[in-house]
């Protein structure tokens, strides 16, 4: 076992008094203090909004900017006529490791399209946000790019997204966040 000797620097007199270091530390913190203080004051009256006096995001009011590839809540893409692009091939339901997708397929009136989802449910309470459903989809019908991360509900039943909510995220305010009208949900 080779020993490595590290020679420590001899402290000079001023190092031993710690005074220069204390002064330097105070100088740095004071610089931050006065810079941030002036920018926070200026921001509060609406000036220099581009330079922030703090790195804080005040969350419920301000959302932190997310990367575009962040896997967030799912949505179903639409055809130009507003119907879902999904052809109910069951690939996502099959690949889903959490088994949170539940599709009921029906026959599409258009002979060029075989099937369409009569119902398409995702249980967010079970979803692990792995993104396999997006990867496996042959029709680019499901994406996870809504940037909605605040999934909260008062009951498990409210965590289930139906076809309408998936096609238009946040269209159903009663689905998530709303207090349940009935006292207790049975499930």
């Amino acid at each position: 076992m080779a020993t490595k000797l590290i020679k420590r620097r001899e402290l000079t007199f001023w190092d031993k008094t710690y005074l220069p270091s204390i002064g330097l530390g105070l100088w740095i913190t004071s610089k931050h203090f006065f810079r941030n203080l002036s920018f926070q004051l200026l921001n509060s009256i609406g000036l220099f909004k581009k330079t922030r006096g703090a790195v804080t995001f005040e969350y419920p009011e301000e959302q932190r900017p997310l990367s575009k590839r962040t896997r967030s809540r799912h949505r179903l893409t639409q055809r130009p006529d507003g119907t879902p692009r999904c052809v109910a091939c069951m690939m996502c339901e099959t690949v889903c490791p959490a088994r949170c997708i539940n599709i009921v397929a029906g026959e599409h009136p258009d002979p060029n399209i075989e099937k369409y989802p009569v119902s398409f449910d995702i249980d967010l309470g079970m979803c692990v946000y792995c993104g396999y459903c997006v990867e496996v989809c042959p029709e680019d019908a499901i994406r996870m790019d809504t940037q909605i991360l605040d999934t909260a509900a008062y009951s498990r039943a409210q965590m289930k997204l139906d076809l309408g909510e998936l096609l238009n995220p946040r269209s159903n305010p009663g689905l998530l966040f709303a207090r349940p009208q009935v006292p207790a949900q049975k499930n």
Partner: protein
């Protein structure tokens, strides 16, 4: 009778100012630490009135956004918490200890002058609660007696950790008190008085016609020694071994509710007290540079005449500004420096600060004796 009333009014005003400032310091502590760490800090304790009182809500807008009501929320929380006395603790001493701490810390303010003698309506009002001719000794006595609160808190809690914390606090405060006292002796020798009002008045001269004869210029070494020792006396962060918020267990570990709040308040009141003392000894108390009894007389010859009331008012304002500055500085130090280790603390106190303060006294005495 009249004198008593005047003094009571003065005491009330000063006490109110000090307590409010101490309460505000909890907010300053949060906000200043946040701002210097690139954060926003506490801003969610809002007072919001119902819609029909909308004008009051507009008034509340700024304090709400600043988070000023966090200190109020803190106080309410302290009062509502359970007041717990541990099993086997000395009930009387356990209750008495925080009171002793806070009372002695507050009574030390009596000897601090916050303004000159104010001649109003045929009376002369000395803007100082008690013009003790040995005011300095009084202040130091009060600060020393404050140690009892700490020791009793540790002793009466029936908890070994609290006991050790109390011992740590006592030895730290006693050690640094010596340095503090000896450092101030330099100031006393320079100005030749123990009365704080006289010390402040003596700082009104000018050196070379332009430099105010403030303690910081007369006794620069004593300034640093006194500041270090006084910071140790307040038991706040570079010297917060007695308390050690996050890691060590301090003397008030068995305290809850407003009794803990009183210890907390004592720390902040002591910060204000130390700021007041620093102002009095080293920044000329209520002196404004170049302001005489008749108004400003600048060294370059210009002068502005001011009425008596304005001169006094400016003095009180300058005192408050200086105290505010020192509070800012102490907070900045508190949020910049890490904590000392206990042996480092004792070495600094006994082997560096104490000899340095003795040398300071010696040199000052020689100079004073030489100048006759």
């Amino acid at each position: 009778m009249e004198a008593v009333l005047i003094k009571s009014a003065l005491a009330g005003a000063f006490l109110g100012m000090v307590l409010n400032l101490a309460g505000l310091l909890t907010w300053v502590e949060r906000k200043q630490s946040a701002v210097m760490q690139d954060r926003l800090g506490a801003n969610r304790a809002w007072i919001v009135f119902p819609k029909w009182l909308a004008p009051l809500n507009w008034l509340m807008w700024i304090p709400n956004r600043l988070g000023l009501f966090h200190s109020l929320a803190d106080a309410v929380k302290m009062f509502l918490k359970e007041d717990f006395v541990p099993k086997g603790a000395d009930r009387l001493l356990h209750t008495l200890a925080p009171a002793i701490s806070v009372v002695f810390a507050l009574s030390a303010f009596a000897a601090i002058p916050f303004g000159d003698v104010w001649h109003v309506a045929g009376r002369s009002v000395n803007l100082q609660v008690a013009d003790v001719n040995a005011g300095l000794l009084f202040v130091f006595a009060m600060m020393s007696l404050g140690v009892y609160g700490v020791i009793l808190a540790g002793f009466a809690s029936n908890n070994n950790y609290a006991y050790l914390g109390g011992m740590r606090a006592a030895s730290q405060m006693l050690s640094y008190e010596i340095t503090m006292g000896v450092a101030v002796m330099g100031v006393v020798l320079s100005y030749g008085s123990l009365s704080l009002q006289d010390i402040v008045r003596a700082q009104g001269h000018l050196f070379f016609g332009w430099l105010p004869a403030w303690g910081i210029f007369v006794q620069p070494l004593a300034f640093f020694l006194f500041m270090t020792a006084a910071l140790a006396e307040t038991k706040r962060v570079p010297f917060d071994l007695p308390e050690g918020e996050s890691e060590i267990i301090g003397y008030f570990v068995e305290y809850s509710g407003m009794k803990f709040g009183m210890f907390f308040l004592t720390d902040l009141v002591e910060t204000v007290l130390v700021a007041c003392l620093m102002t009095t000894f080293f920044l000329g108390g209520w002196q404004v540079p170049y302001l005489g009894p008749e108004g400003f007389a600048f060294p370059w010859g210009a002068s502005i005449a001011l009425p008596h009331g304005a001169v006094i008012g400016l003095g009180v304002l300058s005192f408050m500004l200086k105290v505010a500055f020192f509070n800012w500085l102490f907070m900045q130090i508190r949020w910049t420096l890490p904590r000392f280790r206990y042996d480092q603390l004792m070495r600094l106190g006994w082997k560096i600060l104490f000899p340095a303060s003795l040398v300071n006294v010696l040199v000052t005495s020689l100079v004073v004796a030489w100048r006759g």
